[in-house]
């Protein structure tokens, strides 16, 4: 089983090397076929220089596309290179590579196509503002209404998919705030989704991709897009599976 860890990085020159070396250390323990790719999202700081200097395996986007476009680049690369599993790991060090085996396990057992690392299933203590938790709960409810599935940590960017997920996401992936939409799209296309408990670090460097002022916009945009994807007719893939 060939695994690709996709590490999106935007202005992470301070953290990226540590994230990659942490991943490589952790990877020794669980797989000898675990590669990584850093997707440098048109960073304006020294990220590209650091990647070059340390000889890290990286793709540098010539323009800033945002998290969705960067992660999708990783999925396209995974598809081209024929990887069996793709794992998303943030470039700022908040996701712990030690949990990757747990993310991959349900895929390896053939029980799931798409596994989300969830902060709300007991492991570790997740500290965030009550506003944020409330927003996550609302989105979780909207997703439940549209798909009938209860996903707790809908905004977690720590996730793994098999080939079905790689195909789907390299084809279609939301441009900004893509995490909740990805879940709905996966469920709509007949992928099986599950959550496993993980704990996360507080982000060391870099800013949260969602500022205070943007949260209202975030909620409206994401809710609307979930509703719209939910109303979409299931596309060819699902029909194929039904036949």
């Amino acid at each position: 089983m060939r695994i690709l860890v996709i590490i999106p990085a935007y202005n992470e020159s301070a953290a990226i090397e540590k994230v990659v070396s942490g991943l490589l250390d952790a990877a020794k323990a669980f797989s000898d076929a675990c590669d990584y790719i850093v997707v440098n999202d048109g960073s304006s700081d020294r990220t590209e220089y650091v990647l070059d200097e340390k000889g890290l395996n990286a793709i540098t986007l010539p323009a800033n596309l945002g998290i969705g476009g960067a992660v999708q680049t990783g999925y396209i690369y995974a598809k081209q290179q024929g990887y069996d599993v793709a794992v998303q790991l943030d470039g700022d060090g908040q996701h712990l590579p030690a949990f990757i085996p747990e993310l991959i396990a349900p895929i390896a057992r053939g029980e799931a196509d798409f596994v989300i690392g969830s902060r709300f299933l007991g492991k570790g203590s997740f500290r965030s503002s009550s506003v944020r938790r409330c927003g996550i709960r609302i989105l979780s409810g909207v997703i439940y209404c549209m798909t009938g599935r209860r996903i707790m940590d809908v905004t977690s960017g720590f996730r793994a998919v098999n080939r079905h997920g790689i195909d789907l996401f390299s084809d279609e992936y939301a441009k900004d705030y893509p995490e909740p939409e990805g879940i709905v799209r996966a469920l709509k296309n007949g992928l099986s989704v599950c959550e496993v408990p993980v704990s996360m670090e507080k982000r060391e460097t870099g800013e949260s991709s969602i500022g205070l002022l943007m949260s209202v916009y975030y909620m409206i945009k994401v809710t609307l897009s979930i509703l719209l994807i939910g109303l979409e007719k299931p596309d060819g893939k699902l029909k194929e599976a039904e036949r």
Binding site: V39, T60, L61, P62, A63, L65, G69, T73, I76, Q80
Partner: protein, 125 residues
């Protein structure tokens, strides 16, 4: 309407049409998108030559004041053009995304191939 105003309106409409045609000719606007504006220009020209046409339109629409009919139609037209532009921009955004992603991946492949090429001759020697 005074003769002077009449003349000015006709000249302005003509100038608008010439401007649009010139933009297309110079390649600054694509005919596909300029076509709608040419349509506007021709309507403007017709209306400025025969202002009475506007009264006929307003009567057909059951609008009491002709200029209100003109405003209504103009706003409707502008809205539809802007919606159309939104569609065009979104299409461009999708294509630019795809291009950026594939260019970046190709760039990586090229760099890897170049590296291989520079390493190989060294090994042979």
């Amino acid at each position: 309407m005074s003769g002077v105003l009449h003349a000015i309106l006709i000249l302005l409409s003509l100038a608008f049409n010439v401007l649009v045609l010139n933009m297309v000719r110079q390649g600054r606007a694509e005919l596909r998108y300029a076509l709608a504006w040419l349509g506007v220009g021709i309507v403007m020209l017709l209306l400025s030559i025969w202002p009475h046409l506007l009264n006929v339109i307003a009567e057909l629409m059951n609008v009491a004041v002709p200029i209100n009919a003109a405003f209504f139609l103009a706003i409707l037209f502008l809205l539809s053009i802007m919606l159309g532009l939104t569609v065009v921009i979104s299409g461009h955004k999708n294509r630019i995304y795809k291009l950026t992603q594939l260019v970046a991946i190709q760039e990586k492949r090229i760099a890897e191939l170049e590296k291989k090429l520079t390493e190989q001759p060294a090994k042979r020697e």
